[in-house]
Amino acid sequence: MQTKNSSSILSMLVSLIISFVIVLAFFYGLDHFVMSIQGLPLSLNLSPAG
């Protein structure tokens, strides 16, 4: 029973970590895209480029 609980917690944690990685990458790209189409490019660390 305890093993089953630990396994489900681990699975939930993995799901969360994967989700956060995907979503972070998406929003990072979104910020670059939305700013660049307005003629406001960003550098890799999201500071104004140029």
Binding site: S11, M12, S15, L16, I18, S19, F20, I22, V23, L24, F26, F27, L30, D31, V34, M35, Q38, L40, L46, S47, P48
Partner: protein, 635 residues
Amino acid sequence: MNERSLSNRPAQSSILKHWHHFIWIVVATLLLSTGLIQAAEDADTLSRISPVGIVQVEGEPAIEKRVVATMKVETAEPIVAPKPSRSDYPDIGVSSRAVVWILAQLHLFFAALVLAVPLFVLTIELLGVYTGDERYDSMAYEFMKISLTGFSITAIFGGSLALALFVLYPDFMGYMMHVFGAQVLVYAILFFLESFFLYTYYYGWNAFRYGNLKWVHLSLGLMLNASGLTIMVVANSWATFMMAPSGVNEVGAVVGNIWEIMKGPLWNPINLHRFIANIAFGGAVVGAYAAFKFLSTNDQEKRAHYDWMGYTSNFIAILAFLPLPFAGYWLMAEIYAYSQQMGITAMGGILAWLFIVQAVLIGTILLAGNFYLWAGMSRTDGSDRYKGLIKFIAAVLVVCFLIWVTPHTLILSASEISLLGGSHHHILGPLGIMPAKNIAVNLMLVATFLSFQLYRRSDKVATVSWAPMGNALMVAIYVVAIVNIIFLGVYYGYFTNTVYKVGSSVAQVASTLVVIIAGIIIDTLMFKHAKTLPSHWGRIPDRAQYALFALPIAFTWLMGLMGYVRSSVKTHWHVYTVMKDNSPDNFIPTIAYAGNMITIVTVLFLLCVLFMFWVANLSSTRQAKPAAADAGGVV
């Protein structure tokens, strides 16, 4: 049950069904393509329009004049915009502006209502056809019934407004008639069309109820909406021509065709903003009707019906309200792009204070809408899973609301400035500028959507195997979007230059929209074959209904307020930079005066709405036949 009832729809041949769909698609495509083709044809020839008259922002390149058009004007001896003197405006003993203000605003309130209601009535009716649930059909019919008187009231105020304008502002109206010409007659024809489709749609409801005739009825509803929306965009072109004239030269002579006159830079932003706002407003008004009916009966069946009706109305109002700030943002951006002076008058001058009042009203709407959803969770037993989150959502809403209403510049005496150490408070100062408010607005919208999502989930249990992954993804989207909205506002708003500050607000909007769209998609897929928990319509505290009363009052006040701001940015011009207003009222009044006027109009509108509800009830009331001894005839 009629043998051609909705439940027998599967018996119809699939070819026939496809044929219906085909007709709908063709009609919708034709309606849409008319506008799109025209827009596409002109897209390459239309450069951004600047004010045609004397307003020229310092440092900006000189406004180019259309030489060919001017030459045409010289040869044709065009009629230029009149320059009326003070004596050309009739004096009727009271402020002409006040008279027109009240009539125009009342006309617009009712026009918004009667344009919006058929839009969602048609959607609900269509939902009824696809689900086979006749309750949708009955509710759609009831929505139409309560708004029917509104069509007549709209026409009465519209006619009164036209007469008042012709009597009180004859030169201005003469010029407008000259500019728009036969387009005004098209407007009149559209009225006939709308009336035809309205009456056939409403009175044919029960005659065209099932089978093929239902599709005839839906088509009538589609045409009612098409004619209503066309009326709106035609009328919008008059208002936007006054704000940002196009198709005329610097002296007001017509140099373009009617399409060039209509298609000014503010036309589509206003069209979109009014379209969305009307739906939110219409939903709020009919929600108040449902709340009133809910509170005035003890019959459990009726309470369940009006609870459902109130919920649907609130759903429509809040869902339409969520994208509204973005449409407003686009409108203001276009106003700034057209004329910086006009934009600064709106958001940096005397009218800027009204945006603080606007924040209070929008905050009221969001708090009332959220409160109604939280109270509505008591309808289902499954809501206990989410009730713990309500206090956090409430905290976010209240904190953001307080930030939004924080003014940047305080009205202070010399001693107060001395005590404060400057004209801006060290905490309130930074919170009073747009980056802080942009964060607040976006977070309030995200929080409101979360309330919606929790409400929608409260009577369901997901059965798909990937539900934990779906939930994890949704949590990640919320957390990252909120962090991103705050990061964009703080970093670009306070630590980079102004251009990035403005640009980052678009990325904030995109983040909010991602939350909303992702939430809808994930929930639709995740709860497709979900286990449904029992839901008890009518099991909601009475106090929740007062939130439904608060919504239309705040919406009405808000529309009156922002309509006044939109109109006032023209300052002392009838038609901006082209025709000056020389009437005794050619100034922006004090905030107190404007506030009183808006309040008067709001109260008048609400009284008219009460009359509308009363009439709707009257039609279903039948007097009991008097006893034989009393029935002595009419004295």
